[in-house]
């Protein structure tokens, strides 16, 4: 198992003290009632559909994961090897909880599941990711997405 305490002290400190831009605003969008929410997953796990190009390093852009993706088609190309991958190998929901979202939608706990989900490479400089994240917001709105679950590794 790999918890923060299992890593060499210097690396654990870097992760815990990860720098994030010092934003001037603290945006807060009040969510709709869950039963009306259309939800998308945005992962930072470097996920990629098998037929797509893997992340090569700290790429700032994102990959699309259509809802029709099969569980044997999703790979993890995250640049870091310092987290457990055996959970994701056994069950993609450990990182990409699409089956769980679909179940919640079928039970009308949430309104619906987005047609497309997305993944970034989490080790990338957030400043470089910004234009891609804002462009992604447009795609999410075009799909009528109200809420996003952000999943790390």
């Amino acid at each position: 198992m790999t918890r923060l305490t299992d890593l060499p002290p210097g690396q654990a400190k870097r992760l815990a003290e990860l720098e994030c831009p010092d934003f001037e605003t603290r945006p807060w969008v009040t969510g709709a009632a869950l039963s009306r929410c259309r939800v998308a997953i945005v992962s930072s796990a470097g996920l990629v559909v098998r037929s797509d190009n893997p992340f090569r390093g700290r790429d700032p852009d994102y990959r699309r994961i259509p809802i029709t993706t099969k569980k044997n088609e999703l790979l993890c190309s995250h640049i870091s090897i310092n987290f457990d991958r055996t959970g994701f190998q056994e069950d993609w929901n450990v990182v990409f909880p699409l089956d769980r979202l679909n179940e919640l939608a079928a039970e009308t706990v949430i309104g619906s599941v987005a047609a497309t989900h997305y993944s970034f490479m989490g080790a990338t400089d957030p400043v470089q990711m910004e234009p891609h994240a804002r462009e992604l917001a447009g795609r999410l709105k075009a799909d009528a997405v109200d809420a996003v679950v952000l999943t790390p590794v």
Partner: protein, 242 residues
């Protein structure tokens, strides 16, 4: 994750992050975060435990309703039951000649071991209908040959257009590790990630070969190659010094 949450909220989309490192969430201040006490790599917790994963996901989704922010962090109260070792787990059978041999034969033993795991990996595929092998785009025996050739000192050309040799090496190593760990996970036992990692890095020819490859290539003059070898073959928690 926190920056992504910030950008998306500024664009009018509500977000909730699952956070594996509480100190990082406190430092980066996402709009909403559910901290989970699980190991890195498992934000939803145990594999193939739909009820547990559902509780995690609902705890996160429920943070979308109501106020309390900006910057709201809640702790998930349960730990991952799969983080405990399973004493019933047994690794795939491996002949002693594969595991115990001269360093000079590691490349050949790596290739032989990958062939040996074919049956166990087929059982994994039948059981889980899924494999995460494939980043290199090479068949697994080709990936094993590519890595073995590096260990033999050949510095082979990239077999894939648009991918440099060091990049293909990194992906081929990722594929070999995934193949071995999936093969070892086939069956009814539920090994912890530490059990699987201890086995891969301490008891297999593949693990020994990857240690040797790291040591060998760290002496090369190619800066990009040394960077990849230093950081992307052996996990930091498994690196041997001295």
């Amino acid at each position: 994750m926190s920056a992504l949450g910030h950008y998306l909220e500024e664009e009018g989309i509500a977000t909730v992050a699952i956070a594996l490192i509480r100190a990082q969430a406190e430092n980066t201040k996402p709009p909403r975060a559910l901290w989970v006490p699980f190991e890195l790599g498992r934000p939803l917790g145990p594999p193939n435990d739909a009820a547990f994963q559902r509780r995690v996901l609902l705890a996160a989704l429920n943070m979308l309703v109501g106020d309390g922010g900006p910057v709201r962090i809640i702790d998930f109260p349960e730990d991952d039951p799969r983080s405990q070792p399973d004493p019933a787990w047994q690794p795939p059978f491996m002949p002693g000649a594969l595991v115990d041999g001269a360093v000079a034969s590691l490349a050949s033993r790596l290739e032989a071991e990958i062939l040996l795991f074919h049956g166990a990996h087929q059982r994994w595929m039948a059981q889980y209908e899924r494999s995460t092998v494939g980043l290199s785009g090479l068949a697994i025996v080709e990936a094993a040959r590519y890595v073995a050739d590096w260990l033999r000192g050949k510095a082979p050309a990239s077999p894939r257009d648009g991918f440099s040799p060091p990049l293909i090496l990194r992906f081929a190593v990722d594929d070999l590790k995934a193949y071995c760990l999936e093969a070892a996970g086939a069956g009814t036992a539920k090994p912890s990630s530490r059990q699987l990692g201890d086995w891969l890095w301490n008891e297999t020819a593949t693990g020994a070969a990857l240690y040797a490859l790291r040591d060998l290539l760290l002496t090369q003059e190619d800066d990009r190659l040394r960077l990849i070898v230093a950081n992307f073959i052996v996990p930091a928690a498994r690196a041997r010094t001295g």
